[in-house]
Amino acid sequence: MTQSDTNIPRRPGLTGFGLGLRPQHFPAFLDSPPELDFLEIISENFMGEGGRPLATLDALRERYPMVMHGVSMSIGSADGIELAYLHRLKALTGRVRPAWVSDHLCWTGVHGRNTHDLLPLPYTEEALAVVCENIRLAQDVLERPLVIENPSSYLTFVASEMTEWAFLSEMCARTGCALLLDVNNIHVSAVNHGFDALEFLNNLPADRVWQIHLAGHTSNGDLLIDTHDQPVPDPVWRLYDAACRRFGPVATMIERDDNIPPLEDLLAELEIARTVAAEALAVGVAA
């Protein structure tokens, strides 16, 4: 599916507040399913042939709308993306029937190697062309628009010719893809690279923002490290408030990848997100 500027896919109806499904919470979700507007699954966690992961997925899919979030597409790899992965992802979409499928603006490896990391790209015209070609291929195979998440990063390339937000905006315009805005990643990258996080937010195409991630990070003294293993800190809440004012109601979730707390803790954190969004949207409407 190749999109032109005049045929950009519109955001599906999913909004509200959700969580990322983690195996540690399988029993809690099955025993006492909390009220959530959606669940996000890590696609790679459900690419086995059967057993508990898929049985749990099927049971929870009966109850919750879902979105799929991947870490392995490597849309920034200059030597192309792995078709076998795309076909496994496509098969999973048939089972999950997600509102959308997301991955990251990054690359994980080249020449048959995989670092299992979300490696940063230089923001160049060449990289933009590579990313857009790979997104078009993925969208053709998956038969749906992709949703691309902004990465957190620690490297600034001499070769970069544009800002990250200019790169993301042009990527959306050229491919029709949408954005998953990780507000923590914006904050981490803004601190690490010395740019203004609000300038990042204010220069994104508002109609392309389909989902928001909220998370925490740590500091190694020199840099903020995107560990996703801490509660959402105040600077990220403030940035989320600004994002709500700019983008309106967007599907929002807490994304915790390590140091996983009890489900109740994440539900309490999600309540804060609901409050921040409600207050920001009330101000936005009044304004």
């Binding site: 042939e49 190697r113 299992h116 790209l121 620690y154 001499v158 690490n192 690279h193 020199d222």
Partner: protein, 254 residues
Amino acid sequence: MSLLTLQVALQDHILGHGGNIADHLEAPRGVNADARLHVYHHAYRARLGDLLREAFDKTWSWLGDDAFDETVAAYVETRPSTGFSLDDYAADFPDFLARHLPDETEAIELAWLERAMRKAFDGADAVPLDPARLAALDDAAWDRARFAFHPTLVVRPVEAHLGALWAGIESGAPFTPPALEPGLSVRVWRKGLQPHFRMITHDEARALEQLMEGQTFAELCARLPSDGDEDPVERAGSLLGAWLQDELIVGLDA
């Protein structure tokens, strides 16, 4: 420098192959390129190390920190990942361990068992055979009966008493495992959603292998050696009962 050349240079740095990627990086906020690159260099090793420690936690407990971490470091530095699946990256670790520490029989067999249990965890589903179907077979049907086994079932000869090892490690208390003993076997499979393993006799292992290769149950009865007071047919019946109880059998061709 093309994007591909830049990516190869960064990947080489992360994998420990050197390269000149630092020349292509800036140092905003006074944090130099080496400090920035270290984040990725460290994260690669930490991520794969954490994966292997979690996937082989009993092997780790048995070997201790020094021997296990040294083996993990050797694996990570010499075996770059070639696929998107982290789970696949762990798949070759037991064979690597067997070559790296060839005298550590208990650790080698524990690592194999942990990997087999992980594969059984999300292996293919199958519906267990209803024992009532066997009750309905006449003699002629029994003569030609073949069974299909759960797709997660694997059988392997071992020397370590893996059940005692597993339980001892899980207890967290000091324990002395039984000595190695040639001629043991273990089977691993999933019952419902739960992976299981069971130490079995050599006869049972051989019987399972023959049936999995397509032998009929009647042929098994004819070839099974007697076990003490039990004649071969009774012995085969006992095994069949245990397999049905464990939900190992998922198909009948009779």
